[in-house]
């Protein structure tokens, strides 16, 4: 009688041991699939963060003829460029705009129309002779310096060049809301 119950217990124990082993194996193998599968899954998911997905030319873009420009009279000109957006290649379209100002020394300055504060479009107020960002009332003078308002820095100047009577601008977007001018 006693012998029998002992036998049963041993049997039970060995069965429990086997079950415990099966449990560990099941969990281990499931995790194995999980890990193996997550690697490609995660790589695919995070890919856009590691890639340039939208690409505009960072080179000099022709914005137009400089004839007819007047000193200290800002002109808003469209920046046309081709653009790559992931798989799509757009033919030349307007990707932004700049304010072009002829300086007293006949050189040209180009300001991004994007307000460094929060990215609204800066306008030229003819009457007061100031640049104004209507969203949060930042004011800038003809040289792009801050007159008043919440903008953390002056208007962003962009590199320009003149070749054969045509003005070229290196169009870039800058990080918003910070004091330094850093390209995005």
């Amino acid at each position: 009688m006693e012998e029998g119950s002992v036998k049963k217990e041993v049997l039970h124990e060995s069965r429990d041991g086997r079950r415990a082993f099966l449990k560990i194996c099941s969990v281990f193998l499931t995790s194995l699939i999980g890990i193996a599968y997550s690697i490609p899954i995660i790589r695919t998911f995070i890919n856009p963060a590691l890639q340039k997905t939208v690409i505009s030319s960072s080179g000099l873009v022709e914005v137009g003829d400089i004839r007819g420009c007047k000193v200290n009279v800002p002109r808003k000109v469209a920046i046309k460029d081709s653009r790559r957006d992931a798989w799509t290649k757009y033919p030349e379209t307007v990707i932004g705009a700049v304010w072009v100002v002829q300086q007293e020394d006949e050189t040209f300055k180009a300001f991004s129309v994007i307000c460094p504060h929060l990215g609204c479009g800066i306008d030229w107020d003819k009457d007061s002779g100031r640049f104004i960002c209507p969203c949060h009332e930042s004011y800038f003078d003809i040289k792009g310096e801050i007159l008043s308002g919440p903008s953390p820095r002056r208007m962003d100047t962009l590199e320009t060049d003149i070749k054969q009577g045509k003005l070229f601008v290196r169009y870039q977007k800058m990080k918003l809301g910070i004091a330094e001018k850093i390209p995005v």
């Binding site: 079950r19 099966l22 449990k23 194996c25 099941s26 193998l29 499931t30 194995l32 699939i33 193996a36 599968y37 690697i39 490609p40 899954i41 790589r43 695919t44 998911f45 890919n47 590691l50 890639q51 790559r84 992931a86 798989w87 799509t88 290649k89 757009y90 033919p91």
Partner: protein, 567 residues
């Protein structure tokens, strides 16, 4: 842990889910159902990830899939797993159903287990059908048309159903948005609902054990679902995952054909698990088509749903249910046969094989060209990145008002169909003043040649050899060629190697890129037609890049005898 357990009762929940006595013990033959659940979960995961990169629009779909496949880390693998996963679901579903039929598991009280399962099978087929179209490539586009056309055959309401499914009167943006929505919302919701019902019923009635052992033996052999059965399920899952991954590696993801082109002729084939239906269509012609397309499949579906009510005997032993086992076997064999018939006839179809080869080349080309960016007008426009294609556009824009081409164009300048090919040159020498050549130009100085065939052939070899400016002309050929130039009096007008007259085009570098470019830029130069020239100069009107592509296009005409002159 206790804190969490007190609040959520998670342990109880898990226990509830996993603690199920498996009468008669865990078995390998039970793994297919769990395997289906696991593959379905994998499909959800890969599908959700793919959806982060997919764009359901007729212009963007192909491009976005291309981007996932070629430009995204491991994108090919994820897409490949999703694609192989659909086949895996199908295979497992067939195995699961077969197991169910053999065990008689659909019998009372499990009729609804079976019916919910059959509905899930239909939903899986729906996944395959809708997913096939989403890349908007040639095979998906054309194969899916067959399916929606079949919907149009449904008596009475066909057109309406077709319009609802494909989103309007023809394939386009709405077809994709709808198919996408079916694929990621409707069908998953349906499948999950039926899966919940199916699993609930499974838990309610328990596993259907083998038919032989009696009640007491089953009871004695009972094992817990967790971990005994789960372990087997997990091992099966590992094997399935390994096979799927290997298939994806081996095929390097899923095929992406060239973008859908509605103007092309494409013989579409569906996924392998639809081939039997496709083959069935071949046996019903014209008015009878509705029989093969709709009536027979519907009867089969109804019969399948009705099996539990037809096979009502007490015994589950297959030997005592021979008509049903036999019927199921016959149906399965019929499906396999039809599938094989379809595969065999396709593998012998010359046109299909040629198309397969061509579509592979096209797909490769499309993917190559897509690296330059896909024009906003859509995937098929990727071929406009092809310099040859652009060259042809330049040609059509600037040249075709005067020059003839493939039966069209002007006739006031030589026809350029197969320009500088052997046949073109031969015809030219025989009759340079034919309408096709200088006939309608003001230039009529070129005499007809009466030289023998053999000499003419040598002359053409010699002339065409000039186009390879990199490699010197074979000295023997050159000797023969120069002799012919002398004999035929070519030097009277043409210059070659510093010798000869100068009022006909130079033969130095004849038909080379540089020679063609110079001719197009200004045929009035001394080395071409000089004062006899009537062709406008294109130096200013065709930019450098376009000029290169135009020259490339013209050169391509030479090597394409298939573009022979129109009769």
């Amino acid at each position: 842990m206790k804190w969490l357990e007190d609040r959520t009762g998670l342990k109880d929940l898990v226990k509830k889910f996993l603690d199920e006595p498996v009468e008669g013990g865990a078995k390998w033959s039970y793994v297919f159902g769990s395997a289906l659940v696991i593959v379905f979960i994998m499909q959800i995961v890969s599908g959700v990830i793919l959806s982060t990169g997919y764009s359901a629009s007729a212009t963007d779909a192909w491009g976005s899939v291309y981007y996932i496949q070629e430009r995204t880390m491991s994108g090919w693998f994820v897409r490949g797993m999703h694609n192989v996963g659909s086949s895996a679901m199908m295979v497992l579903a067939i195995l699961h159903i077969t197991q169910t039929v053999i065990f008689g598991a659909y019998k009372k009280p499990r009729e609804l287990n079976w019916i919910s399962g059959v509905f899930m099978l239909f939903i899986i087929l729906g996944f395959g059908l809708t997913g096939y179209l989403l890349p908007w490539d040639q095979k998906g586009f054309w194969a899916t048309q067959v399916a929606t056309s079949i919907m149009g055959l449904i008596p009475g309401i066909g057109d309406f159903v077709k319009g609802v499914v494909q989103g309007g009167n023809d394939y386009g943006n709405l077809t994709l948005t709808r198919f996408y929505s079916f694929h990621v919302f409707f069908l998953p919701a349906g499948l999950m609902t039926f899966m919940a019902i199916h699993l609930h019923l499974f838990r309610r009635h328990g596993v259907t054990p083998h038919w032989k052992p009696d009640e007491s033996e089953l009871k004695r052999k009972t094992q817990p679902f967790w971990p005994d059965q789960i372990f087997k399920d997990v091992v099966a899952a590992v094997i399935i995952f390994a096979i799927m991954s290997a298939a994806v590696w081996y095929r390097h993801g899923a095929e992406l054909q060239s973008p859908a082109d509605p103007s092309s002729q494409y013989m579409a084939r569906p996924e392998w698990y639809f081939l039997f239906l496709f083959q069935l269509l071949k046996y019903f012609e014209a008015d009878m088509e509705v029989v093969g397309a709709i009536i027979l499949p519907t009867i089969a579906a109804v019969l399948m749903l009705a099996i539990p009510f037809l096979d009502r005997g007490e015994s589950r032993a297959p030997a005592k249910r021979l008509p049903f086992i036999g019927g199921f076997g016959a149906a399965l064999a019929g499906i396999v046969c039809l599938t094989l018939l379809s595969m065999v006839s396709d593998s012998r179809d010359e046109r299909l094989l040629a198309q397969k080869e061509e579509s592979e080349v096209m797909a490769e080309r499309a993917i190559e060209l897509a690296a330059l960016g896909i024009p906003p007008s859509g995937g098929a426009a990727v071929f406009t990145n092809d310099p040859l294609y652009v060259g042809e556009q330049v040609f059509r824009q600037h040249c075709i008002t005067c020059h003839g081409y493939q039966g069209g164009g002007g006739d006031s300048a030589p026809d350029l169909t197969a320009y500088n090919s052997r046949s073109w040159l031969k015809g030219f020498f025989r009759n340079p003043n034919a309408v096709k050549y200088y006939g309608k130009t003001q230039f009529n100085e070129m005499p007809e040649s009466l030289m023998g065939e053999e000499d003419l052939s040598y002359l053409i070899d010699f002339l065409l050899a000039q186009s390879e400016t990199e490699t010197p002309v074979d000295p023997i050929l050159r000797e023969i060629g120069e002799a012919i130039l002398v004999q035929e009096g070519c030097y009277n007008c043409h210059t070659y190697n510093g010798r000869g007259g100068d009022f006909a085009p130079t033969l130095d570098g004849f038909a080379s890129d540089e020679w063609l470019r110079g001719m197009i830029e200004d045929a009035g130069q001394e080395r071409y037609f000089g004062k006899y020239n009537t062709m406008p100069s294109f130096k200013e009107t065709i930019g450098k890049e376009d000029m290169d592509k135009l020259v490339l296009f013209l050169q391509s005409l030479r090597s394409e005898p298939s573009l022979a002159l129109p009769e």
